[in-house]
């Protein structure tokens, strides 16, 4: 977003939470940025990449995984360049090894780790609460509550990082990363550079034996200094009140809490807003809780702040009763409604009448309506691949699922997925499981980006241990699910710019995979036959590369590169037997059902169809026609 480059302090722009984090880095003079895309944090990387022209000194990259991204940012920080690494919450598990050393070594220039968390798991396979990591990494942890704070805290994070010689973590939930609202810009630095200089410092950077112990000690001492200074950093705030029940909250839940209190007519409650939830200052917490009868901690997930508050108040003489996860669930996402309802019950208050009416009516009138689940996009190559997988296997094999757009294969109409946990759970779990099963076969899935993220070691292990499996690599050339960041196999950008793609086939050959077939998934019959043939072989690792570019990116490129012909598909009503192969089994949303004269028929919605051709290929009755029209060139027309 180009407005992020404006140097107009005080100007108000409309920004996403992720944009605000981008701007915070710019205002802090960032020189190095790395990330592995992951919802809800992906747009931070897109922001820096899209601003390469305006800020050419910033190195911004989509790294191959979070571990590599974190190391890269650490290297830049050691060279004296302010650096940022971003990831989704589960990416922290991959980066954790790097970041557990980051407090030991300290930083040269500020190093900020941004975590996009996902309470409610609306776009993730887990909702793990990454805040707990700070208890053993010793990295200070900031939790902004608004789009404005997302920017302000990012800047503050760089300052704290340098002041205390520790990387600083900024944790923003999806309902902040993806929220869009007003943001008041600050000033950009007058000049800054992305070039650094590495100064050797073996005491800090070589972590061996006693040196490692000394670094461990210094990391803890640094965190203790942060805790001691916390009350003077201006990051935690107290809203005073005369009430005897006080509240402690952080992140977006602070704003939800304020709305809930207003809805319940509670106007006199003291509220402590925690901006830095690790480390906390025992004296600051005790001063707030002193004299209160009850303190209620309002936060998402597993009670990270509550746990620390209880521990810090132990033996302090504070007599307030501490509540938190006994009132609010430790799972799922809190919102204004849930906080209002649970507080009303806990405090013996009534919901406002209008709110209660709407909630009651909704329970009565909306509980029985059809759910709406996500589906593959129109023209998606995964839909065609999955249709072939189901046809070739009749769902009689084990399906080793993995993470990507193709995770939707677990849903109807395909339902061809037996598990999904973390990145590369497909190959990884399958290759171990098959060592223990005497018969049967497993079909594992992996997308191109997931494969390069961490799948290669699992596949090498499978080859070396001679595990039997069919691995389908769904190579759609992009990290599609997170918004089309380039993957190692990306060949051509939407505007036609060329990349240097990794040759998957060559890679597979060099790691010893002997059976490799490449298919075009829109050629459904050939793809089905290839999967059947691979399954018949029953031995060793067999790989099928299902290669076709993401339909959205392909469609976008058509704006730049128009083909010289038009293709149209249509269902011939006289031939169609209404067998449901295309409408239900393929489930393409461009194929629609309509009623006429008391009977139903199917048609292809021309405005929606992307002409992938899968339905044409799979129709058992040749009822779907394909028309290709080459427009006459002007010269011919003149002659």
């Amino acid at each position: 977003m180009k407005e992020l480059a404006l140097n107009e302090p005080g100007r108000i722009i409309l920004a996403m939470g992720n944009d605000a984090i981008v701007r915070g880095g710019l205002e802090a003079g960032l020189g190095y940025f790395s990330t592995y895309p992951g919802t809800p944090a992906s747009e931070i990387g897109e922001g820096y990449v899209s601003l390469r022209e305006e800020f050419p000194h910033i190195h911004a990259e989509f790294s191959v995984n979070e571990h590599v991204a974190a190391h890269g940012a650490q290297g830049a920080s050691w060279a004296g360049v302010r650096s940022m690494v971003t990831m989704k919450h589960v990416g922290m598990n991959v980066a954790a090894e790097v970041l557990h050393f980051a407090a030991y070594t300290g930083v040269k220039a500020g190093l900020v780790v941004v975590i996009g968390s996902d309470p409610g798991a609306t776009s993730s396979t887990s909702e793990q609460d990454d805040r707990w990591y700070s208890l053993h990494t010793h990295l200070p942890l900031l939790e902004p509550s608004s789009i404005q704070e997302a920017m302000d805290f990012t800047k503050l994070a760089f300052e704290l990082s340098e002041k205390y010689n520790l990387p600083v973590v900024l944790n923003a939930p999806s309902k902040l990363c993806h929220n869009i609202g007003s943001l008041t810009l600050g000033a950009l630095p007058e000049k800054f550079s992305g070039k650094g200089k590495f100064e050797k410092n073996p005491q800090r950077y070589i972590n061996l034996f006693g040196g490692s112990v000394a670094n461990h000690r210094r990391a803890m001492e640094n965190a203790t200094r942060v805790a001691a200074d916390a009350p003077s950093l201006g990051v935690n705030k107290v809203l005073p009140g005369a009430g005897t029940t006080g509240f402690i909250s952080s992140s977006v839940n602070f704003l939800y809490l304020m709305e809930a209190l207003a809805l319940l007519g509670i106007n006199d409650a003291p509220v402590m807003k925690i901006g830095m939830s690790y480390p906390l200052n025992a004296g600051e917490i005790a001063a707030f809780a002193k004299g209160l009868e009850r303190v209620i901690v309002v936060e998402d997930l597993e009670g990270f702040i509550e746990h620390q508050v209880r521990s810090l108040l132990y033996g302090s003489g504070v007599t307030a009763r501490i509540d938190g996860k006994n009132i609010f669930p430790a799972y799922g996402e809190l919102d204004v409604d849930l906080i209002t309802e649970r507080l009303a019950a806990a405090l013996g208050k009534k919901l406002p009448a209008a709110m209660a009416r709407s909630i009651d009516l909704a329970k009565k009138l909306t509980a029985d309506i059809p759910p709406r689940q996500g589906a593959f996009c129109i023209g998606c190559p995964h839909r065609a691949t999955l249709y072939s997988v189901v046809k070739a296997t009749d769902r009689k094999v084990i399906f080793a699922g993995d993470i990507g757009c193709y995770t939707l294969s677990c849903l109807p109409p395909f339902s061809a997925f037996d598990w999904v946990t973390c990145m590369n759970c497909g190959v990884g779990i399958a290759q171990g499981m098959m060592q223990t099963l005497d018969d049967g076969d497993v079909l594992a899935y992996v997308g191109d980006s997931t494969f390069f993220h961490s799948g290669i070691p699992g596949l090498i292990n499978a080859v070396q241990q001679d595990s039997r499996m069919v691995l389908v690599i769904l190579d759609n050339k992009w990290v599609a699910m997170t918004g089309h960041q380039p993957s190692p196999t990306t060949e051509t950008a939407v505007d036609g710019a060329k990349f240097n793609p990794v040759d998957i086939k060559g890679l597979l050959k060099s790691i010893g995979v002997k059976y490799v077939r490449t298919v075009d998934p829109f050629n459904v019959k050939a793809t089905t036959a290839a999967i059947k043939e691979a399954l018949r072989k029953k031995e060793g690792v067999r790989v099928i590369i299902s290669e076709a570019e993401c339909a959205l990116q392909y469609g976008r490129r058509l704006r730049y590169e128009r083909p010289g012909y038009e293709v149209h598909y249509q269902i011939e009503p006289g031939i169609c037997q209404k067998c449901d192969e295309c409408y239900v089994q393929l489930g393409c949303p461009a194929i629609r059902r309509a009623e006429k004269g008391g009977t139903h028929y199917y048609y292809i919605e021309e405005a929606a169809c992307l002409n992938c051709g899968a339905c044409h290929d799979l129709c058992p009755n040749t009822a779907i026609s394909r028309v290709e029209i080459k427009k006459r060139a002007k010269k011919e027309a003149a002659s």
Partner: protein, 200 residues
Amino acid sequence: MTRYDILICGIGGQGAISLGTVLKLAAIREGIGVAGAERRGGAQREGVVTSNVRYYAAGEGAAVSGLIPSGGAQMMISMEPLEALRQARYLNEGSVVIVNDFPLTPVHVRIGEYAYPAREEIYSRLKQFTPRVHAFNIDELSIGNFNSLRQVNTISLGIASALGGMPVSAASLLAVIRDQFPDFETNRRAFELGVKIAAS
């Protein structure tokens, strides 16, 4: 000004978030504070998408969250009938509801596990929340007038601007459309078509 909350609901790919962005940019133009929260589909297409647009007096921002509470929306713009009902808990007795009367079939209906409720049933249920339910087949209007589905959301915006009593003016909305999208002339006509339909 008093707060004014708009909930936009639709399906991935229909442009619910872009529509919310136009409403928010209009606020920035007018110096009105704006917050919001977006629910993006877990997948690219077909999933449930909502955008919360919350107008407030500039300066009040420190206490405004992105989320509209149940019963809190002054207006709902729904791009699909069933989706309006799905989000009905945000309506109150005074809410204005604008629905694109063009159903899109969810996968569970396609495979026969559920039936899509009759349209009359959807609207009769919505009217138990608020009497001010306005349904138009905006897809048909867009195709009929512009031979394209691209104008659907601009027509909706025109209707909303004329019906709702939103704090942002039609002039600001049009200025944002001019800044953000190509082919302003067609969009202006689409917006005005919406205004006209709202009056009819």
